[in-house]
Symmetry: C2
Subunit: 810 residues, 2 copies
Amino acid sequence: MTSRGRVRTSSNSLDPNEDPVSGLERVFSNSNLEQVARQRRRQEEQLLFSRQLAESDRTDSHEALSARYESLNYEVSENRLYRDAEKKPSHQLTLWRISRNRWFVCFLIGVFTGLVAAFIDIMVHYSKDVKFSWILKYLISKCSEEQRGTTAGCMWTVMIAWIGYNCVLVTIAAVLVIFVAPIAGGSGIPQIKCYLNGIAIPEVRSALNHFISIVVKVVRLKTLVSKAIGVACSVGGGLCAGKEGPMIHSGAAVGAGVSQGKSYSLGIDFGLFKEFRNDRERRDFVSAGAAAGVAAAFGAPIGGVLFSLEEGASFWNQNLTWRMFFSAMISSFTVNLILSWFNGKSGWLSWTGLANFGVFENKDYNIWEIPLFLLIGVIGGCLGALFNYLNTRLTEFRKKYVSSKFGRLFECLLVAAISGFLAFLTIFAIDDCQPIGANPTATSTQINQMWCKKGEYSAVASLFFQNPEESVKSLFHSPINSFGVTTLIIFGIEYFFLTLWTFGISVPSGVFIPAILTGAAWGRLFGIFVERLFPSVTGIDPGKYALAGAAAQLGGVVRMTISLTAIIMEATKDITFGLPIMLVLMVTKWVGDMFNEGLYDSHIDLAEVPILGWNPPKMSRNILADRVMRKDVVALERRERVSRIVEILRSTLHHGFPVVDRIEESPYESLPDYGRLKGYILRSQLFKLLENRIFEEEESSSAVLPNDFYECQDDDDQMKSLADLGLTQYDESCWLDIEPYMHPHPHRVPLNTSLPFIFRLFRGLGLRYLFVVNDDNHLRGVITRKDVARFRERRRNHEYHVDELYISES
Amino acid sequence: MTSRGRVRTSSNSLDPNEDPVSGLERVFSNSNLEQVARQRRRQEEQLLFSRQLAESDRTDSHEALSARYESLNYEVSENRLYRDAEKKPSHQLTLWRISRNRWFVCFLIGVFTGLVAAFIDIMVHYSKDVKFSWILKYLISKCSEEQRGTTAGCMWTVMIAWIGYNCVLVTIAAVLVIFVAPIAGGSGIPQIKCYLNGIAIPEVRSALNHFISIVVKVVRLKTLVSKAIGVACSVGGGLCAGKEGPMIHSGAAVGAGVSQGKSYSLGIDFGLFKEFRNDRERRDFVSAGAAAGVAAAFGAPIGGVLFSLEEGASFWNQNLTWRMFFSAMISSFTVNLILSWFNGKSGWLSWTGLANFGVFENKDYNIWEIPLFLLIGVIGGCLGALFNYLNTRLTEFRKKYVSSKFGRLFECLLVAAISGFLAFLTIFAIDDCQPIGANPTATSTQINQMWCKKGEYSAVASLFFQNPEESVKSLFHSPINSFGVTTLIIFGIEYFFLTLWTFGISVPSGVFIPAILTGAAWGRLFGIFVERLFPSVTGIDPGKYALAGAAAQLGGVVRMTISLTAIIMEATKDITFGLPIMLVLMVTKWVGDMFNEGLYDSHIDLAEVPILGWNPPKMSRNILADRVMRKDVVALERRERVSRIVEILRSTLHHGFPVVDRIEESPYESLPDYGRLKGYILRSQLFKLLENRIFEEEESSSAVLPNDFYECQDDDDQMKSLADLGLTQYDESCWLDIEPYMHPHPHRVPLNTSLPFIFRLFRGLGLRYLFVVNDDNHLRGVITRKDVARFRERRRNHEYHVDELYISES
């Protein structure tokens, strides 16, 4: 063995001691190299065997993590070029420009998110106008004229027109999601949560070279447009769906889009903000966008910032938080401004948010009401857990049996039709007519005569046929006798199940407003019962209980606490109820967590995403790095022949490769014996080096340094395939000097490091990889996010266990 | 050289190759070992020389970090005992108990913080009662009777009684601070900020063995009692001081006290919550306590959580945040409950917080008012920066010339007397009499006739002679003509300078309310001018501008943004003004930051505390670990003779020591050549091992493992001195096996690691130490918080520079 004694059988094929396909990121490979496939199978068998051993003492573990998901890269590649950049005189200017541009981009994010929100709101408004003034009022009055009364026969016409209109809108929404941008479906919050947790969600990964499209599709222009139009259609189409969740997703998409200064979908590159084209900066802007989305949706800038923090960020950075706050503020401001124009009160800025729940007149509560609020919390926790359980089962069912595109479209139409039909049926079945004028808070759109006598209106219709936000307001602020008990029961149950069915179909739809509406219905019911139980006590306002119920139901479903409190407080523009709402949400979370996870977390688990929780799993102190790590690493030496690099790029999908000082055949193991860990180089950097032909003929000579691509994380560059580089036989015989371009001090831990320690490193620093070295600093393995995420804490029989999930290749 | 060839001249003295006094934590030593002192001088000369070299290209750097401050220890010592603990069947129960107790402790923190807050409030209330009903009303009415009119002659009596009463109260406050608990002085927020940043603030460090009292005095019972009584006295004594800052400190002290289940001051140990007796858990409870303090002070639970996060925590943990929120909620609830009883409306819970700013009637604002708010922000930024500049100069002056105890007491009395005198002088000088009844918001205590005619009251007196919180309410909510322009100008200027003088004297006093009051005065003035400029525009409410001014002044002084917005919004119980307040605070921070730092940060800098900012300093990419680290490490081998350990414990003050596999004489350097890094052991662990006599006669034999002290961070154990252990000559010749007790995988970085990378590790993980290893994993140096903190980003001539502070030994 010489000093450079790496075993290399030929310059054009891979070392048989190495397994290029399963290593750093362990992604499924389409490569058909026989040799590699054999190697891979052997590795998998080994792995399977060791896992079987580990599983022997466990009862059930049919859970999986999907290998499809990649980590985002938050680490700066601090190579020589990066360090030299600081020495240039122009660097001071760059620092100024970057910090100025960060604020500017946050301003733009706020403005655009506000515009999108206002656009959605105005679309929904017009769609409502069409439905109510045209279909409902016109047809009903026509019925009345023709038949001198409101008989069922004519009502069928109204119903069919209504349902038909709904179905058209829902079809638009569904087509956008199913055929244009699949990621735009649902509320988008689970996706944003994963993205902020550091996971790239792939859309397509059919072929090897399409691997590069594991770009963040979550936050694209196409997604944004589909989402905005789609959500306006699905809400306008009368589904039990809210526009708030999708608004948050839209905000995040705006954040990612604006900060990149270009659009993939349009193929336009404005050449702006090039310094922000990396995962690190993009994540910051996406959090700002999400905060702006919440701010626009609920008029809740503080709630928005807290949402971004509670659901996403792990590292609290004051500057970033401040920028998030700025975006949220600007977005809230923009929405207010536009809507104040739209509502003819231009410049009057107290109008806030899309979901404005109105202001409570009676703000007092007494200490004896606290136990009642706690009880509401318990009910909310149970109902929320039930909702999540049923919706998770439904989603599993859907995954299995409703997978074709037309099947999904059909389901959407079915939901739309049944939602409309049920509404009419209920109005027909329940006779809850209230005299017009008894409810001073009722607006003109709320008053639908329907089957009622003259001078009365149908309370049921006013619940079913309004925009959900208006219905929430009615439930919160109407006087005590505005809704009959039966109305509330039937409405609550129907809305609960319709929401259950709607959440998960292929349209953009949020769960916030439907959950609030369901909760407001049973909360109001609760208030009415309290009022009947204690008739002597004055000051019981069922609206207060409706608010508590709404908070409880929503909290039970999504299990957010602090951000949800802030959002509800800001949406009701009131601080006084803060305390009871917090109490309710806290109890709700405790109760709900006894049964299952929050809705978003359940959906994330179903998608087999390797998300990292807040704390390391309990009972994992004795799981050490050598069990967590993958041993089959693909490493490079500091100088490599171009042919080997090309071969590795071709046959692996890893995002980066460790650099060691020597690679030798191991006398003991089938894997090679790696030398000291010297650095880490990204796939994109290698690619760029090849593209710029930074390699030399002689092994000893060193290539000239290129100027400024110390950080080439821009995924655009990976779009080109290796073949496009046109490397000749001569090129491939050259040598590439990796040292100046690699990150020279990647994170490393010794072999005896415990899982909680590793977890805290990953979570606290947002790592993508962690190298494991032995006592002499020789590379022994690599740990990625998936390796950490596959250890999950579970509770069985009141005891904590750590389960090890397997990594599925699908 | 043998295989264990460490050079050791005698078994009872230290290796001359090592410098035990300047290493891991570099604390000043009182040891008088000649040898050590010589060694130390040499090291310092070397260091000085290298620093001089480094400084040669810098212009000014007379800044220092004090070596007095220690880091808190957040790292778990994951030794063999710790890992084995998980294998015991009782561990499941422990896990349950810990998570239950965490919630229980948070509940207690909330309750006790609420009680303390209510106690302070009630004390201040009675003190006010005494002053107003007794001194003011009684004496004035006596004057009126005797002299049939209000002449100056009689007023002198009133004034002297008034000032005398104030001076008595202030004396109590000052004596408590100066002679009982020095740390209770001031607002306490800088101390809390440092504590949450991970710094232990020492009180006494006179002798070597008192080093152990570098326990967290910040958060002691004695501190709490002194603070609570002191703040009631200083507020009651008419100083320009708020009770809100001290409330936050009190909350933090409650958090630390309750969670430890014992009291140092009382010498009681309840034996409770032993699992929380370490820095890691204590920090969490202190953040919860601080949040509870804000919640109690302003009725702002969300603001409290945001405050704890903005000022302290670096790692956002959802569970911790949730517990903080719970404490804040309970504390707010407790205050409400008690004050509702106290105010005779028992159970009516809408009463919130100590500083209740009242609810605005007119909540609208228009878009053309935005530029006015921005202007207010600019003014606030400038005034805040001026305040900070002057106060910092004053503090420096005070540090130099007012250092004796009686000097400080005299200053307090002087401030109290002058504050009272100025108030009377102003009332005498300004003739601002308003008819009683014109201001419907005025309460009876606000109406003081003073020199005014019958049926009128003195507006000036209503500003000066109320509780500051009441004055704030008057300025926010009184009708437009309630205060004359001259009144506001004189009041604003006087209050500005009195606050300036008061902040920093030796009484517990906050800056929140005084700054709000100053700002409200000039904000209201601004509003009056706006109203006069645009007389045609209706709806200009000077109260709105007073609110904006208050936010701007406070923001300019403390430079908080998001938490301050939340606090003001919650204290005014109103969301609508959120947007303008945010705008104002943002502009204020931008403008203020152009001139200097926030008040708390300035005071922290003056105290030479090694605090870590949010982001690594710019322009520091080329500062590598070998420049940051200290090379003079005191290391141990895995088996050491007891005598050497005793010697090291005796002659060094380090909190922990690295463990390496061998220590050899270096052929090249004066420092020894350390082997591979194997672990890290705490001073307290070594001490406990010695105390429990876990050592063996023979070098080869291994001692039995003790049961459960894997984590002995409890500072109590260090209270005993080494002499108390009574180690015999025979004991000292024994061997101690360190390996089972050391943390086996401490954080490490290679020599070429850059400062930003190191900074992110420290900040993201809350590290106390970081070892630097060479390419073969041999220990080469250690980096502590101070080593990182001494590199500071500065801006000169519009360019960023990194300055290197020196470590002062004072």
